[in-house]
Amino acid sequence: MNEPPVLEVRDLHVDYGLGDEAVHALTGVDITLRRGEILGLAGESGSGKSTLAYGVTRLLPPPGVITGGEVRYHARDGSVTEILDLTDHELRTFRWQEISLVFQGAMNSLNPVLSIHSQLTDVLAAHRPGMSRAARTERAVELLKLVGIPADRLSGHPHQLSGGMRQRVMIAMALALDPEIVILDEPTTALDVVMQRQILTRLAELRERLGFSVVFITHDLSLLVEFSDRIAIMYGGRIVEQAPARDLYREAHHPYSHGLLHSFPALHGPRRELTGIPGSPPDLRAMPSGCAFHPRCPRAFEPCSRETPRLLPPSGADDRPQEPGRHRNGTDPSRSVACLLHTHHGFGAP
């Protein structure tokens, strides 16, 4: 876990709309993606997961605007690019070359009137001007083979493929330029469970082989626990907790993460009680004061409505209700949480 970072997001703010009408979709997001890791991003709908993905690639649909922060990309040779400062032309060269995306809608991500061949090769033509036509076709065949699609599909059109095949084509496309980072925005939500697993397993294999980093966005925390190295939980436009996947699964510090983890049944291990989370996601236009989660939080106490917790390594003393015997001392640098229950200063756990 001590790999160097490839993508650092610092204090990123994204609004939808301008002025007083603006909806703050992201408020001060800090996150680091390390080389070769799979970072899972989870949260309810409206928590800002997709906005974060579009924000770092500057693909926000209007009226989305980045109002502040930094997004630093570290290339393999050590040079650092500030994505938010790139010109339009630089941005076009940067996109897909360094960061590629696989989008939510497997059904609509492919252009229905262009052949698979031309959609796989146009990205090569745009980024590798020196590449010959034959070489581009060869690369396209190679890419399809990578995701297990026969080469004769190349001349076909998207409507001739099943949903699972289309999403595999999208993954092949995402790998076309050997990017350092692949962002998967709910890549499997439209697919059945068997297909989900197949695609994710394939992706994990490819990651082993090609060594790219992955940001995996989903609301399905059980998938994340299985496939990612580290998980960040988002709530109301902020990251409320991040931790290695296994640690988070074993012991979630933030009451929201805890609620998320207990809203689906585990397939393995001892039975756990399903609790779910009461209430509904916050209205981004009228965020609660203090910790945005406090109106729904079963463990909220007096300062929660006044003070906004910062994302910090958790303090030592911690009495989880579900694991009463477990106590830890000192801080754990690999994880952080934004909850007043776990901060060092005045307001400790009650």
Binding site: T57, L59, P61, L91, R92, T93, F94, R95, W96, Q97, S100, L101, F103, Q104, G105, N108, S109, L110, N111, P112, V113, L114, S115, D122, V123, A126, H127, H157, H159, Q160, M170, M173
Partner: protein
């Protein structure tokens, strides 16, 4: 290919049905062409002239309707559409051959120009919403909401009568003999400008509006976002990803409007006394010239059918989803 052949067979069947109806309707009407010619000459025809007219129109011999129908079909295939009353004794097909090129040139070119212009403006207006191009919408919509004949009359009143910049009527200078000479073509172009401009001005808004709205709809599709994320050039995303999909409904509308070139030209040619097929139809209706009307209707029907076939083929080429897999 199989699909094209199937469509072709379908259109042949439709054409046959249209021709048959075209044959039956005049025969269901009271009176005959000789009667209307007699009326036309207000009783000044001698009985011998009437007899010879009957022979000429083939009304002297008692033929069964079935036999007439077969003869009619045979005549159509040999290009014989009968004799016009108005331009007696000129044949209908000859009149049509003279007037059709004028209509096709004027309406064909202007329809194409309006489509290309409107679609191009629509693509850019829809891609960059809120740019100055959006300001053109109210203006062009205003012009298209004006009834066409009124727009034409205003254009004549202002640009041909008040300030005689353009000729008010006709397709060419009457002192010239139609020929492929520079002088004649120049004159034809000069006479065509005013009708052409009014047609484009009144038609372009529809294309802009349709294309712009489709562009706005398609721009929010995932594949356009993917195109942007792939770092393709703005042109590639705009044309190959957004416009390529947005243009599909406009293409079928365009093909249909091609079918209305011949039929819809009536108003234009009446206002500008343009020597096209609409003007011929106008005169035929005014003179109860049934053979000529029948001929014009036949041409209109065939034009609509050909345009539909073109639309089918264009769609087949542009949208792979309509292609049937082998």
């Amino acid at each position: 290919m199989k699909f094209v052949l199937q469509r072709l067979a379908f259109y042949l069947l439709t054409a046959w049905a249209a021709i048959t109806i075209n044959f039956l309707i005049p025969r269901l009407m009271p009176g005959d062409p000789v009667q209307s010619l007699i009326n036309r000459f207000q009783g000044q025809l001698s009985s011998r002239a009437i007899d010879s007219l009957r022979t000429l129109f083939g009304l002297d011999e008692e033929r069964s309707v079935w036999q007439q129908y077969l003869d009619y079909l045979g005549n159509i295939f040999t290009g014989d559409l009968g004799t016009s009353f108005t331009y007696f004794p000129t044949g209908v097909s000859e009149i049509l051959a003279q007037s059709l090129p004028w209509t096709l040139a004027l309406m064909g070119i202007t329809t194409l120009l309006a489509f290309v212009l409107g679609t191009a403006i629509g693509i850019h207006a829809g891609w960059r919403r809120g740019s100055w191009l959006d300001g053109m919408l109210p203006l062009t919509t205003f012009f298209s909401s004006i009834p066409y004949f009124w727009l034409g009359l205003i254009a004549i009143a202002v640009l041909a009568v008040q300030w005689p910049v353009f000729p008010a009527s006709g397709g060419f200078d009457n002192s010239l003999v139609p020929a492929f000479s520079v002088e004649f073509i120049g004159s034809a172009l000069y006479h065509g400008i005013l009708p052409a401009v009014t047609i484009i001005v009144s038609a372009v808004a529809g294309w802009i509006l349709g294309m712009r709205n489709m562009m706005v709809t398609v721009s929010s599709e995932d594949y356009v976002l993917v195109g942007q994320a792939k770092g393709l050039s703005e042109r590639r995303v705009m044309y190959a990803y957004a416009a390529r999909n947005a243009i599909l409904p406009n293409i079928s509308n365009f093909a249909l409007s091609l079918g209305f070139i011949v039929g819809g030209t009536l108003l234009v040619e009446m206002v500008f006394s343009y020597p096209g097929i609409g003007y011929v139809l106008f005169q035929a209706v005014a003179a109860n010239d049934y053979p000529l009307m029948q001929g014009v209707f036949l041409i209109i029907t065939l034009a609509v059918l050909v345009a539909n076939l073109l639309a089918d083929v264009a769609y087949l080429l542009l949208d792979p989803r309509t292609r049937r897999e082998a």
